[in-house]
Protein backbone atom coordinates (compact mmCIF):
# COMPACT_ATOMS: atom_id res chain seq x y z
CA UNK A 1 0.00 0.00 0.00
CA UNK A 2 1.07 3.51 -0.73
CA UNK A 3 1.81 5.67 2.28
CA UNK A 4 -1.29 7.75 2.90
CA UNK A 5 -1.11 11.50 2.98
CA UNK A 6 -1.49 13.38 6.23
CA UNK A 7 -5.15 13.14 7.23
CA UNK A 8 -7.02 16.33 6.56
CA UNK A 9 -8.18 17.93 9.79
CA UNK A 10 -11.93 17.48 10.27
CA UNK A 11 -12.97 17.64 6.63
CA UNK A 12 -16.74 17.66 7.11
CA UNK A 13 -19.35 17.24 4.43
CA UNK A 14 -19.29 15.15 1.28
CA UNK A 15 -16.65 15.25 -1.42
CA UNK A 16 -17.38 13.41 -4.65
CA UNK A 17 -14.56 13.25 -7.20
CA UNK A 18 -14.55 11.72 -10.65
CA UNK A 19 -17.10 8.97 -10.03
CA UNK A 20 -17.63 6.57 -12.90
CA UNK A 21 -19.95 3.61 -12.97
CA UNK A 22 -21.52 1.41 -15.60
CA UNK A 23 -24.48 -0.91 -15.28
CA UNK A 24 -23.74 -3.40 -18.04
CA UNK A 25 -23.04 -1.21 -21.04
CA UNK A 26 -25.06 1.77 -19.78
CA UNK A 27 -22.90 4.44 -18.18
CA UNK A 28 -24.69 5.68 -15.05
CA UNK A 29 -21.94 7.98 -13.79
CA UNK A 30 -19.45 9.62 -16.07
CA UNK A 31 -17.06 11.72 -14.04
CA UNK A 32 -19.41 12.99 -11.34
CA UNK A 33 -17.71 15.54 -9.09
CA UNK A 34 -19.06 18.00 -6.53
CA UNK A 35 -18.77 19.06 -2.91
CA UNK A 36 -21.42 19.42 -0.23
CA UNK A 37 -20.40 22.10 2.24
CA UNK A 38 -21.44 22.74 5.84
CA UNK A 39 -24.04 25.39 6.48
CA UNK A 40 -25.63 25.17 3.04
CA UNK A 41 -28.50 23.30 1.45
CA UNK A 42 -27.13 21.87 -1.76
CA UNK A 43 -29.64 20.77 -4.36
CA UNK A 44 -28.82 17.82 -6.60
CA UNK A 45 -31.11 18.21 -9.57
CA UNK A 46 -31.42 16.61 -12.94
CA UNK A 47 -33.80 14.56 -15.03
CA UNK A 48 -34.67 11.00 -14.08
CA UNK A 49 -31.80 8.72 -15.00
CA UNK A 50 -29.18 11.47 -14.82
CA UNK A 51 -27.34 9.73 -11.99
CA UNK A 52 -28.65 11.40 -8.81
CA UNK A 53 -29.68 8.25 -6.99
CA UNK A 54 -26.65 6.30 -8.20
CA UNK A 55 -24.37 9.03 -6.86
CA UNK A 56 -26.09 8.86 -3.47
CA UNK A 57 -25.85 5.08 -3.42
CA UNK A 58 -22.12 5.29 -4.15
CA UNK A 59 -21.63 7.91 -1.40
CA UNK A 60 -23.38 5.54 1.02
CA UNK A 61 -21.26 2.57 -0.01
CA UNK A 62 -24.29 0.63 -1.25
CA UNK A 63 -22.93 0.58 -4.80
CA UNK A 64 -19.25 0.51 -5.68
CA UNK A 65 -17.97 2.97 -8.27
CA UNK A 66 -15.74 1.77 -11.10
CA UNK A 67 -13.52 4.81 -10.60
CA UNK A 68 -13.35 7.94 -8.45
CA UNK A 69 -13.91 8.57 -4.77
CA UNK A 70 -16.79 9.60 -2.53
CA UNK A 71 -15.77 10.68 0.95
CA UNK A 72 -17.87 11.48 4.01
CA UNK A 73 -15.99 13.52 6.60
CA UNK A 74 -12.85 12.61 4.68
CA UNK A 75 -13.43 8.85 4.74
CA UNK A 76 -15.29 6.28 2.63
CA UNK A 77 -18.71 5.57 4.16
CA UNK A 78 -18.03 1.85 4.50
CA UNK A 79 -15.06 2.53 6.78
CA UNK A 80 -17.08 4.63 9.26
CA UNK A 81 -17.57 2.96 12.64
CA UNK A 82 -20.79 4.75 13.61
CA UNK A 83 -21.90 5.93 10.16
CA UNK A 84 -25.21 7.48 11.26
CA UNK A 85 -23.23 9.87 13.46
CA UNK A 86 -21.50 11.17 10.31
CA UNK A 87 -24.17 11.09 7.63
CA UNK A 88 -27.92 10.73 7.98
CA UNK A 89 -29.70 9.70 4.83
CA UNK A 90 -33.15 9.18 3.41
CA UNK A 91 -33.32 6.83 0.46
CA UNK A 92 -36.35 6.36 -1.74
CA UNK A 93 -35.96 2.59 -1.95
CA UNK A 94 -35.22 1.71 1.67
CA UNK A 95 -38.64 0.98 3.10
CA UNK A 96 -39.21 -0.16 6.70
CA UNK A 97 -40.72 -3.59 7.36
CA UNK A 98 -44.51 -3.17 7.06
CA UNK A 99 -45.13 -5.30 10.15
CA UNK A 100 -42.85 -3.32 12.45
CA UNK A 101 -43.92 -0.14 14.20
CA UNK A 102 -42.20 3.10 13.27
CA UNK A 103 -40.72 3.32 16.76
CA UNK A 104 -39.33 -0.21 16.64
CA UNK A 105 -37.82 0.52 13.22
CA UNK A 106 -35.95 3.46 14.72
CA UNK A 107 -35.12 1.40 17.79
CA UNK A 108 -33.13 -1.26 15.95
CA UNK A 109 -31.38 1.47 13.97
CA UNK A 110 -30.50 3.20 17.24
CA UNK A 111 -29.22 -0.05 18.72
CA UNK A 112 -27.02 -0.56 15.66
CA UNK A 113 -25.35 2.75 16.54
CA UNK A 114 -25.17 2.24 20.27
CA UNK A 115 -27.94 4.79 20.81
CA UNK A 116 -30.80 4.50 23.28
CA UNK A 117 -34.58 4.50 23.10
CA UNK A 118 -34.55 8.04 24.54
CA UNK A 119 -32.91 9.36 21.38
CA UNK A 120 -35.53 7.47 19.34
CA UNK A 121 -38.37 9.24 21.14
CA UNK A 122 -36.61 12.58 20.63
CA UNK A 123 -36.46 12.25 16.85
CA UNK A 124 -40.01 10.87 16.69
CA UNK A 125 -41.12 14.01 18.48
CA UNK A 126 -38.96 16.19 16.23
CA UNK A 127 -40.64 14.91 13.06
CA UNK A 128 -44.12 14.96 14.60
CA UNK A 129 -44.72 11.22 14.37
CA UNK A 130 -45.51 10.63 18.04
CA UNK A 131 -49.22 9.76 17.55
CA UNK A 132 -48.36 7.09 14.96
CA UNK A 133 -45.06 5.86 16.40
CA UNK A 134 -46.44 2.62 17.81
CA UNK A 135 -48.51 1.76 14.76
CA UNK A 136 -47.25 -0.63 12.10
CA UNK A 137 -45.30 1.13 9.36
CA UNK A 138 -47.27 -0.78 6.73
CA UNK A 139 -50.27 1.42 7.50
CA UNK A 140 -48.38 4.69 7.13
CA UNK A 141 -49.18 7.15 4.39
CA UNK A 142 -46.38 8.09 2.01
CA UNK A 143 -45.89 11.34 3.90
CA UNK A 144 -45.63 9.53 7.25
CA UNK A 145 -43.11 7.11 5.78
CA UNK A 146 -41.04 10.08 4.61
CA UNK A 147 -41.19 11.57 8.12
CA UNK A 148 -40.07 8.23 9.54
CA UNK A 149 -37.20 8.20 7.05
CA UNK A 150 -36.22 11.73 8.06
CA UNK A 151 -36.35 10.70 11.72
CA UNK A 152 -33.95 7.87 10.89
CA UNK A 153 -31.65 10.33 9.15
CA UNK A 154 -31.65 12.60 12.22
CA UNK A 155 -31.09 9.74 14.68
CA UNK A 156 -27.30 10.03 14.95
CA UNK A 157 -27.39 13.87 15.08
CA UNK A 158 -25.07 13.90 12.05
CA UNK A 159 -23.24 16.97 10.71
CA UNK A 160 -24.25 15.96 7.19
CA UNK A 161 -27.64 14.92 5.80
CA UNK A 162 -28.52 13.50 2.42
CA UNK A 163 -32.10 13.10 1.22
CA UNK A 164 -33.19 11.49 -2.02
CA UNK A 165 -36.41 13.06 -3.33
CA UNK A 166 -37.75 13.91 0.15
CA UNK A 167 -40.80 15.73 -1.22
CA UNK A 168 -42.13 12.76 -3.16
CA UNK A 169 -45.66 11.95 -2.08
CA UNK A 170 -45.78 14.66 0.59
CA UNK A 171 -48.82 16.82 1.02
CA UNK A 172 -48.34 20.62 0.96
CA UNK A 173 -48.05 20.77 4.77
CA UNK A 174 -45.35 18.14 4.68
CA UNK A 175 -43.47 19.94 1.94
CA UNK A 176 -43.47 23.21 3.87
CA UNK A 177 -42.45 21.39 7.04
CA UNK A 178 -39.59 19.59 5.26
CA UNK A 179 -38.35 22.83 3.71
CA UNK A 180 -38.28 24.56 7.09
CA UNK A 181 -36.51 21.59 8.66
CA UNK A 182 -33.84 21.47 5.96
CA UNK A 183 -33.28 25.23 6.19
CA UNK A 184 -32.95 25.04 9.97
CA UNK A 185 -30.54 22.11 9.74
CA UNK A 186 -28.34 24.11 7.38
CA UNK A 187 -28.64 27.14 9.66
CA UNK A 188 -27.23 24.98 12.48
CA UNK A 189 -24.14 24.56 10.33
CA UNK A 190 -24.90 21.15 8.87
CA UNK A 191 -24.23 20.16 5.29
CA UNK A 192 -27.48 19.18 3.56
CA UNK A 193 -27.77 17.49 0.17
CA UNK A 194 -31.25 17.18 -1.34
CA UNK A 195 -32.02 15.57 -4.67
CA UNK A 196 -35.01 16.28 -6.86
CA UNK A 197 -36.07 15.96 -10.45
CA UNK A 198 -38.27 19.04 -9.98
CA UNK A 199 -36.35 22.28 -10.04
CA UNK A 200 -39.28 24.21 -8.62
CA UNK A 201 -38.81 22.40 -5.32
CA UNK A 202 -35.33 23.84 -5.02
CA UNK A 203 -36.26 27.48 -5.59
CA UNK A 204 -36.86 28.35 -1.96
CA UNK A 205 -34.57 25.98 -0.13
CA UNK A 206 -31.29 25.49 -1.94
CA UNK A 207 -28.30 27.80 -1.52
CA UNK A 208 -26.19 25.87 -3.95
CA UNK A 209 -27.10 23.74 -6.92
CA UNK A 210 -25.45 20.83 -8.62
CA UNK A 211 -27.26 20.21 -11.89
CA UNK A 212 -26.59 16.74 -13.28
CA UNK A 213 -27.13 15.29 -16.71
CA UNK A 214 -25.89 12.03 -18.19
CA UNK A 215 -23.90 11.06 -15.17
CA UNK A 216 -21.95 14.25 -14.57
CA UNK A 217 -22.39 17.68 -13.03
CA UNK A 218 -23.22 20.15 -15.78
CA UNK A 219 -23.40 23.06 -13.35
CA UNK A 220 -22.15 23.53 -9.81
CA UNK A 221 -22.80 27.03 -8.52
CA UNK A 222 -24.65 29.20 -6.03
CA UNK A 223 -28.33 29.64 -6.81
CA UNK A 224 -27.93 33.42 -7.09
CA UNK A 225 -25.11 33.00 -9.60
CA UNK A 226 -27.10 30.59 -11.71
CA UNK A 227 -30.11 32.90 -11.74
CA UNK A 228 -28.04 35.90 -12.71
CA UNK A 229 -26.35 34.02 -15.53
CA UNK A 230 -29.61 32.66 -16.87
CA UNK A 231 -31.48 35.96 -16.75
CA UNK A 232 -28.89 37.54 -19.00
CA UNK A 233 -30.04 40.97 -20.09
CA UNK A 234 -33.14 39.85 -21.85
CA UNK A 235 -36.09 42.20 -22.07
CA UNK A 236 -39.58 41.26 -23.15
CA UNK A 237 -41.17 43.84 -25.43
CA UNK A 238 -44.84 43.91 -26.39
CA UNK A 239 -45.63 46.17 -29.33
CA UNK A 240 -48.14 46.29 -32.20
CA UNK A 241 -45.31 47.53 -34.47
CA UNK A 242 -42.89 44.67 -33.95
CA UNK A 243 -41.21 44.96 -37.35
CA UNK A 244 -40.49 48.66 -36.92
CA UNK A 245 -39.21 48.20 -33.37
CA UNK A 246 -36.96 45.35 -34.47
CA UNK A 247 -35.33 47.55 -37.15
CA UNK A 248 -34.61 50.37 -34.71
CA UNK A 249 -33.33 48.16 -31.89
CA UNK A 250 -31.16 46.05 -34.21
CA UNK A 251 -29.57 49.23 -35.55
CA UNK A 252 -28.76 50.18 -31.93
CA UNK A 253 -26.91 46.88 -31.44
CA UNK A 254 -29.56 44.63 -29.90
CA UNK A 255 -30.55 41.14 -30.90
CA UNK A 256 -34.28 40.72 -31.33
CA UNK A 257 -36.03 37.39 -31.54
CA UNK A 258 -39.68 36.53 -31.93
CA UNK A 259 -39.43 33.76 -29.41
CA UNK A 260 -38.47 33.88 -25.80
CA UNK A 261 -39.59 33.11 -22.30
CA UNK A 262 -42.87 34.95 -22.84
CA UNK A 263 -44.24 34.25 -26.26
CA UNK A 264 -47.41 35.60 -27.77
CA UNK A 265 -48.64 37.85 -30.55
CA UNK A 266 -46.79 41.15 -30.78
CA UNK A 267 -44.15 39.97 -28.35
CA UNK A 268 -40.42 39.89 -29.00
CA UNK A 269 -37.39 39.29 -26.83
CA UNK A 270 -34.60 41.82 -26.90
CA UNK A 271 -31.12 41.17 -25.65
CA UNK A 272 -28.04 43.38 -25.65
CA UNK A 273 -29.75 46.57 -24.45
CA UNK A 274 -30.98 47.58 -21.01
CA UNK A 275 -34.71 48.20 -20.60
CA UNK A 276 -34.31 51.96 -20.05
CA UNK A 277 -32.39 52.37 -23.31
CA UNK A 278 -35.08 50.43 -25.18
CA UNK A 279 -37.80 52.69 -23.82
CA UNK A 280 -35.82 55.79 -24.82
CA UNK A 281 -35.17 54.49 -28.34
CA UNK A 282 -38.77 53.46 -28.95
CA UNK A 283 -40.11 56.71 -27.53
CA UNK A 284 -37.68 58.78 -29.63
CA UNK A 285 -38.79 57.00 -32.78
CA UNK A 286 -42.49 57.16 -31.88
CA UNK A 287 -42.90 53.37 -31.85
CA UNK A 288 -45.95 52.40 -29.79
CA UNK A 289 -45.45 49.71 -27.16
CA UNK A 290 -47.55 48.32 -24.34
CA UNK A 291 -44.97 46.53 -22.21
CA UNK A 292 -41.24 46.46 -21.56
CA UNK A 293 -40.22 43.94 -18.92
CA UNK A 294 -36.79 42.86 -17.81
CA UNK A 295 -36.97 39.09 -17.87
CA UNK A 296 -36.28 37.36 -14.55
CA UNK A 297 -35.22 33.76 -14.90
CA UNK A 298 -36.55 31.09 -12.59
CA UNK A 299 -34.57 28.03 -11.63
CA UNK A 300 -36.88 26.16 -13.95
CA UNK A 301 -35.42 28.14 -16.87
CA UNK A 302 -31.88 27.50 -15.71
CA UNK A 303 -32.61 23.86 -15.43
CA UNK A 304 -34.20 23.55 -18.86
CA UNK A 305 -31.33 25.45 -20.38
CA UNK A 306 -28.70 23.26 -18.74
CA UNK A 307 -30.34 19.91 -19.21
CA UNK A 308 -31.80 20.43 -22.67
CA UNK A 309 -28.97 18.54 -24.32
CA UNK A 310 -28.59 15.96 -21.62
CA UNK A 311 -32.11 14.63 -21.18
CA UNK A 312 -32.05 10.96 -21.96
CA UNK A 313 -35.56 10.76 -23.43
CA UNK A 314 -36.67 14.20 -24.57
CA UNK A 315 -40.41 14.50 -25.04
CA UNK A 316 -40.01 16.15 -28.43
CA UNK A 317 -37.03 16.29 -30.79
CA UNK A 318 -36.76 20.05 -30.37
CA UNK A 319 -37.64 21.16 -26.88
CA UNK A 320 -39.20 24.62 -27.07
CA UNK A 321 -37.17 27.35 -25.55
Amino acid sequence: MKPTAIREPAATGIVVAGLRKRYGTTPALDGMSFTVRPGLVTGLVGPNGAGKSTTMRVILGLDAADAGTALVDGRPYRSLRRPLNHLGSLLDAAAPHPGRSGRDHLLWLAHAQGLTARRVDQVIDQVGLTPAARRKAGGYSLGMRQRLGIAAALLGDPPTLMLDEPFNGMDPDGIIWTRRLLRSLAAQGRAVLVSSHLMGEMQDIADHLVVVGRGRAVADAAVTELLAAASGDRVVLRTPAAAHATRILTRAGATVTATGPHTGPDTVTVSGLPAERIVTLLGGNAVPFTEVTAHRATLEDVYLELTRETVEFPTSPQAPR
Partner: protein, 247 residues
Protein backbone atom coordinates in the same frame (compact mmCIF):
# COMPACT_ATOMS: atom_id res chain seq x y z
CA UNK B 1 -20.32 -6.29 16.40
CA UNK B 2 -22.13 -5.87 19.74
CA UNK B 3 -24.24 -3.05 18.33
CA UNK B 4 -25.00 -5.04 15.18
CA UNK B 5 -26.08 -7.99 17.33
CA UNK B 6 -28.27 -5.76 19.47
CA UNK B 7 -29.87 -4.37 16.30
CA UNK B 8 -30.55 -7.83 14.85
CA UNK B 9 -32.05 -9.01 18.11
CA UNK B 10 -34.32 -5.94 18.22
CA UNK B 11 -35.35 -6.65 14.62
CA UNK B 12 -36.25 -10.29 15.22
CA UNK B 13 -38.29 -9.60 18.35
CA UNK B 14 -40.27 -6.61 17.01
CA UNK B 15 -42.13 -8.43 14.25
CA UNK B 16 -44.48 -11.33 14.80
CA UNK B 17 -43.42 -13.67 11.99
CA UNK B 18 -40.23 -15.09 13.60
CA UNK B 19 -41.99 -16.03 16.85
CA UNK B 20 -44.88 -17.59 14.95
CA UNK B 21 -42.50 -19.60 12.77
CA UNK B 22 -40.56 -20.82 15.81
CA UNK B 23 -43.72 -21.80 17.69
CA UNK B 24 -45.08 -23.43 14.55
CA UNK B 25 -41.81 -25.31 14.10
CA UNK B 26 -41.88 -26.59 17.69
CA UNK B 27 -45.52 -27.65 17.38
CA UNK B 28 -44.96 -29.38 14.03
CA UNK B 29 -41.87 -31.21 15.27
CA UNK B 30 -43.53 -32.51 18.42
CA UNK B 31 -46.77 -33.38 16.58
CA UNK B 32 -45.06 -35.37 13.83
CA UNK B 33 -42.80 -37.09 16.35
CA UNK B 34 -45.81 -38.08 18.45
CA UNK B 35 -47.66 -39.27 15.36
CA UNK B 36 -44.69 -41.34 14.24
CA UNK B 37 -44.43 -42.89 17.69
CA UNK B 38 -48.14 -43.69 17.72
CA UNK B 39 -48.26 -45.49 14.41
CA UNK B 40 -45.03 -47.41 14.96
CA UNK B 41 -45.67 -51.11 15.28
CA UNK B 42 -43.84 -52.45 18.26
CA UNK B 43 -43.50 -56.17 18.04
CA UNK B 44 -40.22 -56.42 19.82
CA UNK B 45 -39.46 -54.91 23.24
CA UNK B 46 -37.13 -52.38 21.64
CA UNK B 47 -39.64 -51.19 19.02
CA UNK B 48 -37.78 -52.25 15.91
CA UNK B 49 -34.47 -51.10 17.25
CA UNK B 50 -34.28 -47.32 17.61
CA UNK B 51 -36.99 -45.64 19.69
CA UNK B 52 -34.91 -42.48 20.09
CA UNK B 53 -34.67 -41.94 16.37
CA UNK B 54 -38.36 -42.69 15.98
CA UNK B 55 -39.19 -40.09 18.64
CA UNK B 56 -37.21 -37.47 16.72
CA UNK B 57 -38.96 -38.00 13.35
CA UNK B 58 -40.59 -34.55 13.60
CA UNK B 59 -37.28 -32.81 12.97
CA UNK B 60 -37.84 -33.62 9.28
CA UNK B 61 -40.85 -31.28 9.34
CA UNK B 62 -39.58 -28.79 11.90
CA UNK B 63 -36.55 -27.97 9.76
CA UNK B 64 -38.84 -26.50 7.08
CA UNK B 65 -40.05 -23.84 9.56
CA UNK B 66 -36.50 -23.13 10.60
CA UNK B 67 -35.43 -22.80 6.97
CA UNK B 68 -38.25 -20.35 6.18
CA UNK B 69 -37.37 -18.23 9.23
CA UNK B 70 -33.70 -18.19 8.25
CA UNK B 71 -34.50 -17.13 4.69
CA UNK B 72 -36.77 -14.31 5.92
CA UNK B 73 -34.01 -12.91 8.12
CA UNK B 74 -32.22 -11.57 5.05
CA UNK B 75 -34.38 -12.15 1.96
CA UNK B 76 -37.30 -10.44 3.72
CA UNK B 77 -35.12 -7.33 3.94
CA UNK B 78 -34.33 -7.52 0.25
CA UNK B 79 -38.07 -7.77 -0.40
CA UNK B 80 -38.92 -4.50 1.34
CA UNK B 81 -35.66 -2.72 0.54
CA UNK B 82 -34.80 -2.51 4.24
CA UNK B 83 -31.49 -4.27 3.57
CA UNK B 84 -30.21 -0.85 2.47
CA UNK B 85 -31.08 0.66 5.82
CA UNK B 86 -29.34 -2.27 7.49
CA UNK B 87 -26.19 -1.74 5.44
CA UNK B 88 -26.30 2.01 6.08
CA UNK B 89 -26.33 1.35 9.81
CA UNK B 90 -23.69 -1.40 9.64
CA UNK B 91 -21.71 -0.86 6.44
CA UNK B 92 -19.22 -3.64 7.23
CA UNK B 93 -21.20 -6.32 5.54
CA UNK B 94 -19.49 -9.36 6.98
CA UNK B 95 -20.33 -7.99 10.42
CA UNK B 96 -23.95 -7.60 9.33
CA UNK B 97 -24.14 -11.20 8.15
CA UNK B 98 -22.31 -12.49 11.22
CA UNK B 99 -24.76 -10.64 13.49
CA UNK B 100 -27.68 -12.20 11.64
CA UNK B 101 -26.09 -15.66 11.87
CA UNK B 102 -25.45 -15.38 15.61
CA UNK B 103 -28.95 -14.09 16.36
CA UNK B 104 -30.49 -16.83 14.24
CA UNK B 105 -28.33 -19.47 15.91
CA UNK B 106 -29.51 -18.26 19.30
CA UNK B 107 -33.23 -18.33 18.62
CA UNK B 108 -33.14 -21.59 16.64
CA UNK B 109 -31.07 -23.34 19.31
CA UNK B 110 -33.59 -22.26 21.93
CA UNK B 111 -36.62 -23.33 19.90
CA UNK B 112 -34.82 -26.48 18.68
CA UNK B 113 -34.12 -27.52 22.27
CA UNK B 114 -37.79 -27.17 23.16
CA UNK B 115 -38.85 -29.07 20.03
CA UNK B 116 -36.39 -31.93 20.48
CA UNK B 117 -37.01 -32.38 24.22
CA UNK B 118 -40.76 -32.16 23.57
CA UNK B 119 -40.50 -34.87 20.94
CA UNK B 120 -38.51 -37.16 23.23
CA UNK B 121 -40.98 -36.60 26.02
CA UNK B 122 -43.91 -37.42 23.73
CA UNK B 123 -42.07 -40.56 22.63
CA UNK B 124 -41.57 -41.64 26.23
CA UNK B 125 -45.30 -41.41 26.89
CA UNK B 126 -46.43 -43.05 23.67
CA UNK B 127 -43.93 -45.79 22.98
CA UNK B 128 -44.33 -48.94 25.04
CA UNK B 129 -40.58 -49.30 25.24
CA UNK B 130 -39.24 -45.82 26.06
CA UNK B 131 -35.93 -44.67 24.65
CA UNK B 132 -33.05 -45.14 27.02
CA UNK B 133 -31.13 -42.23 28.48
CA UNK B 134 -27.59 -43.06 27.52
CA UNK B 135 -24.67 -41.83 25.48
CA UNK B 136 -26.11 -42.49 22.00
CA UNK B 137 -29.46 -40.96 23.03
CA UNK B 138 -27.69 -37.86 24.28
CA UNK B 139 -25.81 -37.66 20.97
CA UNK B 140 -29.09 -37.91 19.08
CA UNK B 141 -30.63 -35.17 21.22
CA UNK B 142 -27.79 -32.69 21.03
CA UNK B 143 -27.16 -33.63 17.39
CA UNK B 144 -30.78 -32.91 16.42
CA UNK B 145 -30.63 -29.46 18.01
CA UNK B 146 -27.34 -28.74 16.25
CA UNK B 147 -28.82 -30.08 13.01
CA UNK B 148 -31.70 -27.58 13.17
CA UNK B 149 -29.23 -24.76 13.82
CA UNK B 150 -27.12 -25.80 10.84
CA UNK B 151 -30.21 -25.89 8.61
CA UNK B 152 -30.93 -22.31 9.73
CA UNK B 153 -27.41 -21.23 8.76
CA UNK B 154 -27.73 -23.05 5.43
CA UNK B 155 -30.97 -21.17 4.79
CA UNK B 156 -29.38 -17.85 5.75
CA UNK B 157 -26.42 -18.47 3.46
CA UNK B 158 -28.55 -19.49 0.49
CA UNK B 159 -30.87 -16.52 0.97
CA UNK B 160 -27.87 -14.16 1.10
CA UNK B 161 -26.79 -15.58 -2.25
CA UNK B 162 -30.25 -15.56 -3.86
CA UNK B 163 -31.76 -12.43 -2.20
CA UNK B 164 -35.34 -13.41 -2.98
CA UNK B 165 -37.64 -15.08 -0.43
CA UNK B 166 -39.57 -17.40 -2.73
CA UNK B 167 -36.52 -18.52 -4.69
CA UNK B 168 -34.53 -19.06 -1.50
CA UNK B 169 -37.25 -21.08 0.26
CA UNK B 170 -37.67 -23.22 -2.86
CA UNK B 171 -33.94 -23.79 -3.11
CA UNK B 172 -33.30 -24.61 0.52
CA UNK B 173 -36.24 -27.03 0.72
CA UNK B 174 -35.13 -28.49 -2.61
CA UNK B 175 -31.60 -29.04 -1.34
CA UNK B 176 -32.96 -30.66 1.83
CA UNK B 177 -35.58 -33.00 0.41
CA UNK B 178 -34.17 -33.62 -3.08
CA UNK B 179 -31.32 -35.94 -2.04
CA UNK B 180 -33.52 -38.42 -0.12
CA UNK B 181 -36.07 -38.41 -2.96
CA UNK B 182 -33.37 -38.98 -5.58
CA UNK B 183 -31.88 -41.75 -3.49
CA UNK B 184 -35.30 -43.45 -3.47
CA UNK B 185 -35.68 -43.14 -7.23
CA UNK B 186 -32.20 -44.25 -8.23
CA UNK B 187 -31.83 -48.01 -8.31
CA UNK B 188 -28.07 -48.29 -8.18
CA UNK B 189 -27.14 -48.94 -4.51
CA UNK B 190 -23.71 -47.37 -4.96
CA UNK B 191 -25.16 -44.06 -6.19
CA UNK B 192 -27.89 -44.27 -3.55
CA UNK B 193 -25.34 -44.46 -0.76
CA UNK B 194 -23.38 -41.58 -2.24
CA UNK B 195 -26.47 -39.37 -2.40
CA UNK B 196 -27.37 -40.20 1.18
CA UNK B 197 -23.90 -39.26 2.28
CA UNK B 198 -23.83 -36.00 0.31
CA UNK B 199 -27.28 -34.60 1.08
CA UNK B 200 -27.41 -32.13 3.99
CA UNK B 201 -30.54 -33.77 5.39
CA UNK B 202 -29.87 -37.47 4.88
CA UNK B 203 -26.30 -37.14 6.11
CA UNK B 204 -27.09 -34.83 9.01
CA UNK B 205 -29.97 -36.87 10.38
CA UNK B 206 -27.63 -39.84 10.78
CA UNK B 207 -26.81 -38.18 14.09
CA UNK B 208 -30.22 -39.31 15.36
CA UNK B 209 -29.31 -43.00 15.10
CA UNK B 210 -28.60 -44.77 18.38
CA UNK B 211 -28.42 -48.35 17.14
CA UNK B 212 -27.21 -50.14 14.02
CA UNK B 213 -24.58 -47.55 13.32
CA UNK B 214 -22.73 -49.96 11.04
CA UNK B 215 -25.63 -50.05 8.62
CA UNK B 216 -25.78 -46.27 8.26
CA UNK B 217 -24.48 -44.76 5.02
CA UNK B 218 -22.44 -42.32 7.10
CA UNK B 219 -21.37 -42.03 10.75
CA UNK B 220 -23.45 -39.81 13.11
CA UNK B 221 -20.94 -37.02 13.69
CA UNK B 222 -19.47 -37.30 10.18
CA UNK B 223 -22.98 -36.93 8.82
CA UNK B 224 -23.57 -33.80 10.88
CA UNK B 225 -20.22 -32.49 9.63
CA UNK B 226 -21.52 -32.84 6.05
CA UNK B 227 -24.49 -30.62 6.98
CA UNK B 228 -22.09 -28.19 8.63
CA UNK B 229 -20.04 -28.16 5.44
CA UNK B 230 -23.13 -27.23 3.43
CA UNK B 231 -23.97 -24.43 5.86
CA UNK B 232 -20.41 -23.13 5.90
CA UNK B 233 -20.15 -23.17 2.09
CA UNK B 234 -23.48 -21.34 1.72
CA UNK B 235 -22.60 -18.74 4.37
CA UNK B 236 -19.13 -18.19 2.98
CA UNK B 237 -20.40 -17.74 -0.59
CA UNK B 238 -23.20 -15.51 0.67
CA UNK B 239 -20.78 -13.41 2.70
CA UNK B 240 -18.45 -13.03 -0.26
CA UNK B 241 -21.26 -12.00 -2.60
CA UNK B 242 -22.72 -9.62 -0.01
CA UNK B 243 -19.30 -8.01 0.31
CA UNK B 244 -18.69 -7.46 -3.41
CA UNK B 245 -22.16 -6.96 -4.89
CA UNK B 246 -24.06 -3.68 -5.09
CA UNK B 247 -26.86 -3.66 -2.56
Amino acid sequence: MRSALHAEWTKIRTVSAPLRLLLGGVAATVALSAAAASVATCTSPTCGGDPTRLSLTGVILGQAFVAVLAVQVIAGEYGTGMIRTTLLATPRRTVTLAAKAVTLTGVVTAAGTVAVLGSLLAGRFILPAPSPVDGPALRATVGSILYLTLIALLGLGLATILRDSATSIGTVLGVLYLFPVLAQVIGDPQAQRLLQRAGPMSAGLAVQATTGLDDLPIGPWTGLAVTAGWAAAALFTGGLLLHIRDA
